[in-house]
């Protein structure tokens, strides 16, 4: 896996945690919501979503439960855990710092 992807992966983790902080969701719903919210700006491939979910579960930030869905199918619903909440706070914080730093650099007046 190449480096730029890692960065995207990291951001993807943050997005997923944020999404699940709003409400518990299954994989499909997350992918739809991501598409909806980021629109053309963020291209999140369906292919990278599920491994990311899996990794987050393995790390204990989110937990999963099989539940019937609105159309009577079975789906794996993901919920943010308590330590996941803390992780989200940490990642949000470091993201803001990073974004802030980049914006301030970019906003420097050019001579």
């Amino acid at each position: 896996m190449s480096r730029p992807l890692d960065l995207v992966q990291g951001t993807l983790d943050l997005l997923i945690l944020k999404m699940l902080a709003l409400e518990p969701m299954h994989g499909w719903a997350i992918s739809q919501r991501l598409k909806q919210m980021s629109g053309d700006v963020l291209q999140v491939s369906d292919g990278s979503l599920y491994p990311a979910l899996h990794k987050l579960e393995q790390q204990g930030w989110i937990e999963a439960e099989w539940k019937p869905t609105e159309n009577n199918r079975r789906a794996k619903f993901y919920t943010l855990t308590r330590s996941g909440k803390k992780q989200l706070a940490r990642e949000t914080e470091s993201w803001s710092r990073l974004a802030g730093a980049i914006s301030s650099v970019v906003a420097l007046p050019e001579v």
Partner: protein
Amino acid sequence: MTLDRLLQIVRLRLRSLFAGAAVDRELDEELRDHVERQIEVHVARGMNRDEARTLALRAIGGLEQRKEEMRDARGVAVVENLVRDTRLAFRQLVKQPGFAVTAILSLALGIGANTAIFQLLNALAFRPLPVRAAQELVEVRLTGAGRSGRHTGRNRQVSLPQYQEFVRRQQAFASMLAFSDTRFNLATSGEVRYVDGLWVSGNYFEMLGVAPVAGRLIAPADDAPGCAGVAVISHALWQSEFGGRADIVGQTVPGVGVPVPIIGVTPPGFFGVEVGKQFGVALPLCASGYSRRDHWWLATVGRLRTGWTETQAEAHFKGLISGVQQDTVPDFGAEYREPYLTMGVELVDAAAGVSPLRRSYQRPLLILMAIAGLVLLIAAANLANLLLARATARQDEFAVRLALGGSRQRLLQQVLTESLLIAALGSAAAVAVAMVVSQSIPPLISTAVDRVHLDLAIDWQVFGFTAIVGVATALMFGMAPALRATRATMFRGQSRGSAANAGLAIRRALVSLQMAVTLVLLFGGLLFLRTFQNLASLDTGVNQRGIVVANVFFPEQKYPVEGRVAAYRAIDERLRTVPGVVSLSEAFMTPLGGNFRDNTIIIDGQKVGESNINEVSAGYFATLGTPLTAGRDFDDRDGPGSPRVAIVNEAFAEAYLTGGAVGQRFTIPDDRDDRPGTEFEVIGVAANQKYLDIREEAPRILYNASSQNPSPSPTRRYVIRSTLTAADAARSIGAELAAIDPNITVRYSLLDTQLTESMLQERLMARLSAIFGGVALLLAIVGLYGVVSYTVACRRAEIGVRAALGASRSRILGMVLGDVGRMVGIGIAAGAAFALLASSAVGSLLYGLEPTDPAALAIAIASLLGTSLIAALLPAKRAAGIDPLSALREN
């Protein structure tokens, strides 16, 4: 990491590991759900179903890759491989039970020997005492020769006044305890029943942080001068002697003469400060009545004050010692004062307790550890040999796998897993071997009255040791075969013969190594065996066979000192009439019995030297079969009032009394300068006997007449020669004593046993090193046999050609045996050189032979050469019997 999160992670990993199939199904379901929903969305937008499916699958980028990625996310591939490899390795072992059993047994013996010796070392020298903060404990020991007088106990270091002075002056210890070991007789009549006892200072239990399981323990207030005494008993004694009764406090135990009330019980597992010993009854120091300045009986241990190091404390004590000595000097004459005043002091770490046993056995055990390590080396070489043979056999398989793109690392992992599995099974079996071996050793180093108790439980140290040795061994014997097997290329794999020959070179080198190490072990074993033989066949000056020693204890109140001479005379007469008794005599000590007494000899006002002293009655020399070479034995002429007479041994006479000893006189000085010594006239000369140590060369001994002692002790030691068996003699003597007075108690031993017990260390070394040498020889021979058989199998075609060209059977036999001879010869030469260089390390444990003893080396070489040739003969005969036609047809 929070606990919740940790639990979740562990749960998921375990699930991935043990329910992998279910996890995979769920992955599948989740992904399929996603794809189907996507298809529906596409279809709803008007796409046809096939197109929709293609698009959806493309978006997800290949179901199988995703699933693989998710599996990787679970991070269990390494473990899964390990589980798979272990299963595979296990199946292969089961498929080849002969190999498996040989491998596991070799390891069990090799590792087991190491674990057993480690267990002993651990229990004796490494494991901290089971008391509070054992690492803070330090023993105070005196150095220099200045202690004349009475010596009792195994850990005798200081007198009571010295201990008290140290306590009063020292600053380095938060507290400082003193103790001494003793024995209490639990029996009130008949045969003596000893229980190990302790004299302890009042702060002993408090300082060690021991809490009672019943009642209370001895406290400082209990240890006041002139006390009547209170007793604390051990948990074991509470159970064995009192049946664990609840009202134990207030019961009594026999102390010294008077019963002592029990005030409490120590917890199970507490054995005191001396490793290797246990106690049943502990009494405060004051109850002993010992307070003399020239009585050396106490060991002292301090607990370092916070902030003090052992080095600082030692410097502190070195500053105190001369003041302490000044204020505690016994009533010595000038010649003893000087050495006493200049004695030094040293502090010794006591975290693992104090132990005279450790001092005498640590070195032997370390040597045995080295021997066991060499046995393991031989076992590992055997396994390397076996695995190399297998590696060669599996080269084809590996070559194919490598050619098909299997990674070498993966193959290495698989082969090493197999080694580790063998090592793990071997280690498990080794623990069982070790338990048996180590449990059998304390009885070997115990004497009848001095039992050794070592806690040999498998603790984490022992377990860790076994595990580390196991893994190290696995790497040692597994690495070379693993590298060899996986280096195979397709090309090598096809030209199998050359690869097999390359492996053979290593295997032949391993056999030479085994032979070298085995020779070293056989040589060492023979050195210890011959040492023991030399000691056992030494002339002790005594015909000890069938001599029963009876220690008889008379109740002091009933036999007051003024009436003892008469009472003893009457009792001796009655005992002499017991049917079967040939002769009977009394002696202060028996040769090598462990007691001793010595003094300065003065002739014509000149100090001429020292001599050991024994005090015996008439008939002693006849009973023990030691001839008198001049003069007469003690008899009725020698009473308390008559002139003092002595018999001396030949060594004494040669040293001090030239020109006819009988009739000459010498003087023994009194303990005090202001009193004159006692003058003796020599009336006889006896042949030499050993005295305290069997290794002594002809010690000088003088014998006083016990009939001249006006105040004999309430304990008498009889030596009895009879026509009865030892048990019958003891029974008859016991019955007669009981008839005289039922309150007399007695303990029997055999002079034979006493003599053997003075050689326990040598016997242990002889037995264990001989056993280890035997195991090494067995392992090495198995290894040699395997390699020779294999060589013959590899050279089958060549031998067939030779036979076809007319080589005779004997020529082929000679060729194979010559080859073995070269292999073994190299090993023997290397081993002999090493053995001769290294044997000086054991020099101090040998007796009566040099560490380079040529006879031992010759026997070791001959036996190794002999067994090697016998082991090689079978495969060599097989080679000679090869039918050239069939051998050639096979190729």
